[in-house]
């Protein structure tokens, strides 16, 4: 397998983009990425999108996006793993380059969620759960994570304050991200008193509905070296699945899918979690960030809540998590999220993250999750110059 580098990154602004269509968002993110890399033509395109069908009544995104991106006849593959579709698009682009099938592979993540009303969007998102044995009973995604939160609180004594501090931290970071949907700050009190959605998850523990796109351009390290500018190398990939239904997991307070993916990614990179400097993780609900911290081995089971309060994962902490603002502040256009995590990691590794720059950022982890933990894709990225 060839060594694979990321030589271009691009995003759109994230938010409620009423004047932009699914194809506009995908193409804008891709053009920003190609401009960043200084590359005009690619050999392969991968597109992460959870549900063009339900959000926009549009499938066949390979053809649509390649055409409108001015890349007719280029092989384009749409991949889906619910909210981890973006991470899967990056992995698929990696495979295109590592295998030698493509020299330049462009991974695009996109979701246009506001073409349908809130009810329809909720329905579309719920298709990431088991339709016949979860959604059938009236459970929602906040509800699924709320059940994990409840179990975590019961077993480890995790508190509402700890769950809320994740929000405060991520919005502090997101306030410095010009692409973020909600670049505003919140106090702990505001988060803890926000409207209850599914006990114990409140509105400000939940990521929003977002339109947005992100893209990264991959090529071989051999090609990247000739460009004479900083780039990042993908040194580890871990991809795992678990039961789609939460009830069938052996341990409700452990995201085993993330543990498996993290171990695989770190092993491939020849690293341990102690070697990693920072991470972008899938905080679709704040309990997810807490459970991911434990699953990747950053802290022992049950210790994530206290660690967040101690500032371990703050921007100035020993292991910053979600310097971008995370899904909570930056937004969560589901198919775009996994690609945007990689965009942020590369920006940090290149030292171009501005006010939210992580100090001494040399090795990054990105963790993208599908459903209630039915799938996860983790990348390890390392700075090169």
């Amino acid at each position: 397998m060839k060594e694979v580098a990321i030589i271009g990154i691009g995003m759109t602004d994230w938010g409620e983009l009423w004047l932009k269509s699914l194809r506009d968002i995908a193409v804008e993110a891709a053009l920003n990425c190609l401009d960043d890399a200084g590359v005009a033509k690619v050999d392969a395109i991968t597109i992460g999108c959870m549900s063009g069908g339900l959000f926009n009544a549009q499938e066949h995104l390979g053809s649509l996006v390649a055409d409108y991106l001015g890349q007719r006849f280029v092989p384009a593959t749409r991949v889906e793993s619910a909210c981890a579709s973006g991470g899967l698009a990056v992995k698929t682009a990696y495979m295109e380059v590592a295998s030698g099938l493509a020299e330049y592979a462009l991974a695009i993540g996109v979701e246009k969620m506001t073409d349908v009303d809130g009810n329809e969007a909720t329905f579309a998102l719920a298709t990431a759960a088991d339709q016949d044995y979860e959604a059938f009973h009236g459970i929602t995604f906040p509800g699924l994570y709320a059940m994990m939160a409840h179990a975590h609180m019961k077993k480890y004594g995790t508190t509402l304050e700890q769950l809320s501090q994740v929000t405060v931290k991520n919005h502090d970071n997101g306030s410095m991200n010009p692409h973020a949907q909600f670049p505003c700050k919140f106090t702990l009190e505001q988060v803890m008193n926000s409207t209850m959605v599914a006990d114990p998850m409140r509105l400000l523990h939940c990521s929003p509905i977002t339109d947005g796109g992100a893209a990264v351009l991959l090529t071989t390290v051999e090609v990247a070296k000739k460009l004479n500018k900083p780039y990042a190398v993908i040194t580890g990939i871990g991809h795992a699945t678990d039961t789609i239904a939460l009830a069938q997991r052996k341990d409700l307070v452990k995201l085993e899918v993330v543990e498996q993916a993290a171990q695989r990614a770190l092993k491939m990179a020849g690293k341990t979690i102690k070697d990693v400097n920072f991470a972008e993780v899938h905080d679709c609900f704040t309990i997810a960030e807490i459970m991911v911290m434990e699953a990747i081995g950053l802290v022992k089971p049950g210790q994530a809540g206290p660690a967040v309060m101690d500032g371990l994962t703050a921007l100035t902490g020993k292991f910053p998590i979600n310097p971008s603002g995370g899904l909570k502040s930056k937004g969560h256009p589901v198919g775009a999220t996994g690609v945007a995590q990689v965009v942020e990691a590369v920006a940090q590794l290149r030292g171009e993250a501005g006010k939210r720059q992580v100090k001494n950022a040399r090795i990054a982890m990105t963790q993208n999750m599908g459903g209630s933990g039915g799938s996860s894709i983790i990348h390890i990225l390392e700075a090169r110059s």
Partner: protein, 134 residues
Amino acid sequence: MSMHVARHWRETPERYRMEAAKCKKCGGIHFPSRLICPDCGTREFETIRLAGKGELVTYTIIRVAPTGFKDLTPYAVGIVKLDEGIQVMGQVVDCNPEQLKVGDRLVTQFRRINEEGKTGMILYGYKFVPDVGL
């Protein structure tokens, strides 16, 4: 979304009778039924009926509901560990959701779950209620 009746009809054994698949080799019980045992790989099962009794493992109270469930809010959804050893998700009703506790004994009852709009199917299945030993 309105579906062909068969989409729901085929789930009748599980939803109406709580039928599960018991692996003939390792004895593992699977609900809903499967074609291959994820634990030992066997493809031979016998059909058993779950008693529907168990203990509440975790739960939430849904305040913002999906389409078709709005008139039920606030309602509890929980994961119940059945006495047969497997975990099942379902609504917990006929109780004050604020007073539910992990460890509560619950039992299934046959209830109306939802309807697919005014002209769609009316869907039935199990919900959990407090087990008062009736």
